[in-house]
């Protein structure tokens, strides 16, 4: 791949330097993201790319789950105390007993209950679009789900206990030492490339992203039907950009505001030297150019030639 920026003889403009810097940052980001990608080869021999959930996504899901757990526990406590008031006070002990057992099960079996389901994800994980799967790609067994969640006791419970210990000088130091020791378990996911908790390691699982993507209309189809031959781009014009720019253009067409689209249209016209015809809208131009660019790039790709971006000139 050609990574140097083409420039005119002798002088390098500030814009070129900036573009090269941005490009390097983008490529680095790509490498960082590809480090979180794992290939799963299905028994049919096809490869599926799984993306591991990041540590921050995991933490976010966990916080949502903890909030839900507390909501359940507190709501039950309130409900029971109201029920007790309605009846007589003698049932206080029974209510307390019921609540205590309930608390234990919410604390330990909330995650297990949801992860054993078809979605293999707790509500918190679902909210962030992540799920648990087996590392080997096989089925997620009940034993794995049990193992990964019982281990949570040392990852969260242990640091919390040391945190609560505190006290005078000697026990304070002990608590600090314990906190550091147990902190290793808590921060374990940050320090391994697979973002595994200790529980994941023991259970043979990991957590992947499983976003539900919607299939949207193909932009090139509307371009082809509405504006057949008003836009005839030359091969040089269709070669001005690469795959990265095509994808950015796709995002712009699908998501951006009118304002952004107008600006993008302006810059593309300037770059390829296109003179706007009378009555030509920005959208129509962008869609037509998208179709032309994609056609050109896909043709080259079929011949084994991936033009990664506009700097990739071969």
């Amino acid at each position: 791949m050609n990574s140097t920026v083409p420039h005119t003889h002798g002088k390098v403009s500030a814009a070129d330097v900036n573009a090269a810097r941005l490009r390097r940052a983008r490529l680095q980001e790509q490498i960082r993201r590809s480090k979180l990608e794992r290939r799963l080869v299905t028994p049919e021999g096809a490869a599926i790319h799984l993306k591991l959930a990041t540590a921050s996504e995991r933490a976010g899901a966990f916080m949502i789950d903890v909030a839900i757990q507390w909501a359940i526990v507190i709501a039950t406590a309130l409900g029971l105390s109201f029920a007790m008031m309605a009846m007589d006070s003698g049932s206080a002990n029974v209510a307390w007993a019921v609540w205590l057992v309930f608390y234990f099960f919410v604390r330990n079996f909330y995650y297990i209950f949801f992860e054993l389901g078809a979605k293999a994800a707790t509500p918190g994980k679902r909210a962030l679009g992540i799920r648990v799967t087996s590392r080997s790609g096989g089925r997620l067994t009940a034993n794995s789900v049990l193992a990964r969640n019982f281990i949570r006791e040392i990852e969260v419970g242990l640091p919390f206990q040391f945190l609560m210990m505190g006290g005078d000088r000697v026990s304070g130091w002990m608590a600090l030492l314990g906190l550091v020791w147990s902190g290793i378990f808590l921060l374990f996911p940050i320090f391994n490339k697979d973002k595994m908790r200790v529980g994941d390691l023991i259970a043979g699982t990991w957590v992947i992203r499983s976003p539900k993507t919607k299939l949207m209309g193909d932009i090139s189809s509307s371009a082809a039907t509405t504006t057949q031959d008003r836009f005839a781009f030359t091969p040089q014009q269709a070669d001005a950009y690469g795959i990265h720019e095509l994808h950015v253009l796709e995002d712009v067409l699908r998501q951006s505001t009118q304002d952004v689209k107008a600006q993008v249209a302006l810059r593309i016209r300037a770059k390829i030297g296109w003179r706007a015809q009378p009555g030509e809208t920005d959208i129509a131009f962008l869609e037509a150019y998208y179709a032309a660019l994609r056609r050109r790039l896909e043709q080259r790709m079929i011949f084994g030639d991936r033009k990664t971006d506009k700097f990739d000139t071969r």
């Binding site: 299905t42 028994p43 049919e44 096809a46 490869a47 599926i48 206080a92 002990n93 029974v94 307390w96 007993a97 019921v98 205590l100 057992v101 608390y103 234990f104 330990n108 054993l116 078809a118 293999a120 799967t133 590392r135 790609g137 096989g138 089925r139 997620l140 067994t141 009940a142 034993n143 794995s144 049990l146 193992a147 019982f150 281990i151 949570r152 006791e153 040392i154 419970g157 242990l158 378990f185 390691l201 023991i202 259970a203 499983s210 976003p211 539900k212 993507t213 919607k214 299939l215 193909d218 090139s220 189809s221 082809a224 095509l246 994808h247 796709e250 179709a291 896909e298 790709m301 079929i302």
Partner: protein, 333 residues
């Protein structure tokens, strides 16, 4: 229409099938496998294979980001559904009770003996130290009093704590006390399991500590001539409860051993294999502790005869042993 892109035509031909697969998966994820009709079930494998092949074609011919991302997520979902476990919770529970749990326990006899050694070693140590010199009791317990069950208590008081007088029974208190103990013990059991990951050392400490607590208390009663009675009081649920704690400790040692001494396997593989076995044992401990709590809350308070207490204690222990260790017919699944 020759002007259409190749990748667009490719998509147009297959889109209906992708959407059909999407619909089936959404339904299955939301309301379970049972919501699917027979037609859908038979169509599923074909649609899945088609989607997977579409994905690999799309990767090489299409530059439509949305299409490849969609297929990637569709195939991932389909893969996990097609190759995922489809047994119901009920079936999984039956498997657990009939096969998994006893076989895991039976295959961990070594760690179980080790855990028992730590628990009862601590017990015996504390017991004999306290028998020689009761000052040890205060060393072990500090200011926690076990409800006044300490060396300064009178024989009458101690006796009253192990027998329930007629008319003294208060259902509310019984249940709340036993549920508190269940909560406490079950949390300790899970803790003992989880701590196994640190090479089992904290697990051993936890077992010895609990043994010392019980052993010193045992000595208090023994010295006042209530040894036989106290043992009966303890054993009626204790055979189940202590067995559960020993097994939880054993589960911890299974993991600790696998992490420390992986043998031929990689450390990661060894941990994984042991983790599944140990988790099954830990789950079993929770069940045993529920039973122990029931025995403790009701059985102990309602049965006040020493002989019957011993009979109940040992017959339940016998049941556990035969459930775990008696050889059973191997099912060919």
């Amino acid at each position: 229409m020759s002007d259409l892109l190749k990748s667009y035509r490719f998509r147009e031909e297959r889109e209906a099938d992708w959407r059909k697969l999407d619909l089936i998966l959404t339904r299955a994820e939301n309301s379970g496998v049972k919501a699917l009709t027979d037609d859908e079930m038979t169509a599923l494998p074909r649609l899945y294979r088609q989607a997977v092949s579409s994905l690999s074609v799309a990767r090489s011919i299409s530059l439509d980001q949305n299409v490849t991302a969609y297929l990637e997520s569709l195939c991932t979902r389909a893969y996990f559904f097609v190759y995922g476990a489809r047994t119901s919770i009920g079936e999984r529970m039956m498997d657990f009770l009939r096969r998994d749990w006893p076989s895991c326990v039976a295959s961990a006899v070594g760690p179980t003996l080790l855990a028992a050694l730590f628990l009862f070693g601590g017990w015996a140590l504390a017991f004999f130290l306290c028998m020689q010199d009761m000052e040890w009791f205060w060393t072990f317990h500090g200011q926690s009093f076990f409800d006044g069950r300490n060396p300064d208590a009178t024989v009458e008081y101690l006796r009253s704590t192990i027998y329930t007088e007629e008319g003294e029974i208060n259902d509310g208190q019984l249940t709340s006390f036993s549920s508190y103990l269940f909560n406490n013990n079950a949390q300790i059991a899970l803790f003992a399991f989880a701590l196994g990951f640190a090479f089992g050392i904290p697990t051993a400490w936890l077992l010895v500590y609990n043994g010392v607590m019980m052993g010193s208390l045992h000595a208090v009663f023994w010295q006042k001539g209530l040894g036989y009675e106290f043992t009966g009081w303890l054993m009626i649920h204790g055979t189940t409860e202590l067995f559960a704690i020993v097994l939880a400790g054993a589960a911890g040692f299974v993991i600790g051993g696998a992490v420390a001494f992986p043998g031929q396997l990689t450390r990661l593989n060894s941990a994984r294999r042991a983790g599944q076995k140990a988790a099954t044992m830990a789950m079993g401990c929770v069940i045993m502790l529920i039973i122990a709590a029931l025995l403790e809350g009701f059985g102990r308070q309602l049965i006040n005869s020493d002989v019957i207490r011993y009979i109940v204690a040992f017959s339940i222990l016998g049941l556990w042993f035969s459930y775990f260790y008696l050889p059973r017919k191997v099912e060919t699944a």
